[in-house]
């Protein structure tokens, strides 16, 4: 228990709108050890960002509502804390890097002020002391300290993301949530930013949840991978287990849709169909309408977690021995 920094149990988050209830996260379970990096992979709309926001209790309410579940961080259930206690955790023990550095910085504050803000809030330092720490953070992410008096629009995209990283790491959090931190950046800058994040994370021994839909980034940075589909983790494994031995038909499908350097294939095999409508999820296994192995029972019976081996879990009826796979997986 104690070496788990984060434990999420049966988390259910719904968005209640006039058009219906959007079931964004449905009974999600996840654990993360101190200093580890977890890759949270899935298509758009799988509930990755909602999960991340739930950990910080920042799901916009209304319409979002955490229906049930527990989120234990450092042994404390975050969902039971008061708003004030929660504020002292945000940015201090858990911080978040947002997807788009262009919009996640305040355009009318200097970057120095923005880095100093979190330090000021959580460490009770004076403005000058906080500013001095902000300068150090800037240098840490490879930006000269003189630039602290500049405004975000005077920075390039990659540098802005460095500033965002500096803000997130300013209070030395024990958990960092990075929501597609490199999606808005071009490929060369992506590599730099990932490298930077990896180095800083090792330096501070920060655990990280990396949300992405890029399996390449996962392979490069993560220790564990959780594959999300329709608000559930359908496969959870270490990096090696997942990449060498993917089990869930959806995970296999994800790998099937990436071009491989080793095998020549005529066409890639994309997963057919689209993500189900979250206001109207399919019964049984949520993946069954798109699954090539699906049988009638998949429509009725919801798969439970099956342990394939130590640390490798999958939610699929095939591994429960209920149905047979159509081909060798």
């Amino acid at each position: 228990m104690s070496d788990n920094i984060l434990e999420i149990k049966d988390l259910v988050v719904h968005y209640i709108t006039d058009e219906g209830v959007v079931e964004a996260v449905n009974g999600l379970n996840m654990t993360l050890k101190r200093g580890e990096t977890l890759g949270l992979v899935g298509e758009t709309g799988a509930g990755k960002t909602t999960t991340a926001l739930s950990i910080l209790r920042l799901v916009p309410n209304p319409p979002g509502k955490i229906i049930s579940g527990e989120i234990h961080f450092d042994g404390e259930n975050l969902l039971e804390l008061s708003e004030e206690e929660m504020r002292s955790i945000r940015g201090n023990k858990i911080s978040m890097i947002f997807q788009d550095p262009m919009t996640s910085l305040n355009p009318v504050m200097t970057v120095g002020e923005q880095i100093a803000e979190g330090i000021e809030i959580h460490q009770g330092l004076s403005t000058d002391e906080a500013m001095e720490k902000a300068h150090e953070m800037l240098e840490l992410v490879g930006i000269p300290r003189e630039r602290a008096i500049d405004y975000p629009h005077q920075f390039s995209g990659g540098m802005k993301q460095r500033v965002v990283i500096a803000i997130a790491l300013a209070c030395n959090p024990s958990l960092l949530i990075a929501d597609e931190p490199t999606t808005a950046l071009d490929v060369t800058i992506q590599a730099q930013v990932l490298e930077l994040m990896r180095n800083l994370r090792e330096e501070f021994n920060t655990a990280m949840i990396l949300i992405t839909h890029d399996l390449g980034i996962v392979a490069e940075t993560c220790d564990k991978v959780a594959v999300m589909y329709a608000g559930e983790v359908i496969e959870y494994a270490t990096l090696e287990q997942l990449f060498e031995n993917p089990k869930h038909p959806y995970t296999i499908g994800l790998f099937g849709s990436i071009p491989s350097l080793e095998h020549d294939v005529e066409r890639l095999k994309p997963i057919k169909g689209l993500m189900p409508d979250p206001t109207n999820l399919p019964s049984g296994c949520p993946f069954h309408p798109r699954c090539s192995h699906a049988q009638d029972i998949c429509k009725e019976r919801k798969p439970i977690v099956t342990n394939i081996e130590e640390g490798h879990m999958v939610k699929c009826l095939i591994y429960e021995g209920v149905i047979e796979a159509k081909e060798v997986l």
């Binding site: 920042l58 504020r87 947002f98 009318v108 500049d150 405004y151 629009h153």
Partner: protein, 301 residues
């Protein structure tokens, strides 16, 4: 990587060498490039100086108030630059003393409106839902009454004096500012940097004061500048119908009103106060437009 960083560093050091750029310095630099706005600003500075030093330029009691019927309805001359009115008072002196009142009413009224309206609008926009509904429906009720009528009602109820005039004009323009601030808070509050501010543990108060208001301020400043112009017009309008500053205190609107009987024999009595109003309004509008352009962070080069 290293090469791109060094070039970036180089250009930075170069621009840094010049001066430390603050946000307002940047705005001022852009405003300076706008000639029309600068003309507006210069006119406003002259008008403010005239108003501040009105007593030094022309004695209030002797020149602007004291009647001298022997000298009435004189056209512009060396002694009376802009002529005299129906009581023989110097029109130039009365205009600069009147300017004091107009500018003061304008600024104070807008100040009241921005303060009250802005706070209400910010609360409505930020919290949304029921609070928003309550505040904005109250504002709608205000808006349903024509603002000049509301001002007239307030002045009549409280009595016609300078303070009540400012209050009346200020209160009647509250809904406008509440709406502007609310709208601009709404656009700002859904941006990602507000969420990012929440994610570092900032409180609501901090988010409103440090993140939302500075970003929502630009339209308020512009509207405020233009609003001073409207307030001056309203003051003139109220004075014209006798609800403004009590006589014999000079005020542009009441000067117009006094002069309209002599429109044919001595048109200068109405022309010059009218021009004073026009020039002030024009200057404020030019300045307001210039500020709007200068404050838009998206236009930064």
């Amino acid at each position: 990587m290293s090469s791109s960083v060094t070039t970036e560093k180089d250009t930075n050091l170069k621009s840094q060498a010049g001066k430390k750029r603050s946000q307002w310095g940047e705005v001022w630099r852009r405003l300076k490039k706008n000639h029309m706005a600068m003309i507006g600003l210069i006119i406003m500075i002259i008008l403010i100086l005239l108003a501040v030093f009105a007593n030094q330029i022309a004695d209030y009691e002797e020149v602007a108030i004291k009647q001298n019927t022997a000298n009435r309805l004189q056209g512009p001359s060396r002694e009376n630059w802009l002529g005299t009115d129906n009581f023989g008072r110097d029109i130039f002196a009365r205009i600069i003393h009147g300017g004091r009142i107009s500018l003061m009413v304008g600024v104070v009224a807008v100040g009241i409106a921005v303060l009250i309206g802005g706070t209400l609008g910010a609360i409505a926009g930020f919290y949304g839902g029921r609070v928003d509904n309550l505040i904005m429906r109250a504002m709608d009720i205000f808006l349903a009454i024509p603002s000049i009528l509301l001002a007239i009602a307030i002045v009549t109820a409280l009595g016609a004096n300078l303070f009540n005039l400012m209050l009346a004009i200020g209160i009647s323009s509250i809904p406008g500012y509440a709406r502007i601030v609310r709208a601009s808070v709404l656009t700002v509050k859904d941006q990602e940097f507000i969420e990012a501010a929440r994610a570092i543990g900032a409180s609501d108060f901090r988010i409103i004061t440090k993140h939302i208001i500075p970003n929502a301020l630009a339209p308020v400043i512009v509207q405020g500048t233009l609003g001073v112009a409207t307030a001056i017009l309203s003051t003139a309008g109220l004075s014209f119908i006798g609800l403004g500053v009590p006589k014999p205190r000079p005020e542009w609107g009441s000067m117009l009103s006094d002069g309209r009987t002599y429109l044919w024999e001595a048109s200068h009595i109405t022309t010059f106060p009218g021009l004073a109003i026009v020039i002030t309004i024009l200057a404020l509008n030019l300045l307001g437009d210039g500020l709007r352009d200068a404050l838009d962070p998206r236009l930064k080069q």
